[in-house]
Symmetry: C2
Subunit: 173 residues, 2 copies
Amino acid sequence: MIFVFTGNGKGKTTAAIGHGIRVVGQGKKVLLIQFIKNKKWPTGEEMALREFAGRFEIITGGKGFVGILGDRLPRSVHKKAAQDTLKKASKLIFSKKFDLVILDEINVALSLKLITIKDVLSILRLIPNNLDVILTGRGAPKELIRIADLVTEFREIKHYYGKGAIAKKGREY
Amino acid sequence: MIFVFTGNGKGKTTAAIGHGIRVVGQGKKVLLIQFIKNKKWPTGEEMALREFAGRFEIITGGKGFVGILGDRLPRSVHKKAAQDTLKKASKLIFSKKFDLVILDEINVALSLKLITIKDVLSILRLIPNNLDVILTGRGAPKELIRIADLVTEFREIKHYYGKGAIAKKGREY
């Protein structure tokens, strides 16, 4: 089944990870592939999930935020990274080693046109029967919504950033 | 800070658990208190989180779904269970042993009037400075939205239940 977690609200990636924890608890295997995040700073979830090595694998394929927060990388570098990550994802999806594959922030990579919806759909149309795939990130394209079995929109109703608070360890990463 | 995860879409509890995993990975302590769920069947997340014992604690205070799925318990039993769970939650919140406390499905307990918003607010108004509290469940009352620092509404855009699929191990529990 195909799950899409989209919208501008907080919780999309953590919901995918929590779902992964559930799957691991049922004795199954999970793969998390990060399309935007880079390897520089391991997040809290990455550190915790190391304890589930072999059951909850993480691949960090991104090169960091694109065009913001001091990003100076040429667009071609981000594009190549996202496309390589998609290739890797495809290979691992069809390896049948996993019961759940999380394509984290792939919707953002799509919005930024680092990868094409056509390439993503060509993978999703062929996923093995018992595999669940979760695609996260704001701005999921309508072609993805159409093919998905479940879509949750995470709507920001209120956020403390508006009150001047900043990203904090354990809250945002 | 106070986080509210509400709305009719899938992912509220898993988002809270994923957030908890992040917090554990940063070396902090998490408590998950379940207001509706009973102990009969351990879920996938409960089984996986046992590996984080001492760092990610779970208290299951509910008596199961209220009024549906064959529930035959008198309302008074659900009410007492929810009120006892709230008392326990209050005690543990003020014990300062935890950095994050998840009050899972408490919004449902509120909607069902098993507990009062007045009692919940009287706890939330006094939470220690460095504690984060996440309240999950559909139908969060407006008094809770008002006091919260962050609110995400999980909106169901599409769900496979509509297509006749049923709850599946690893997907729903």
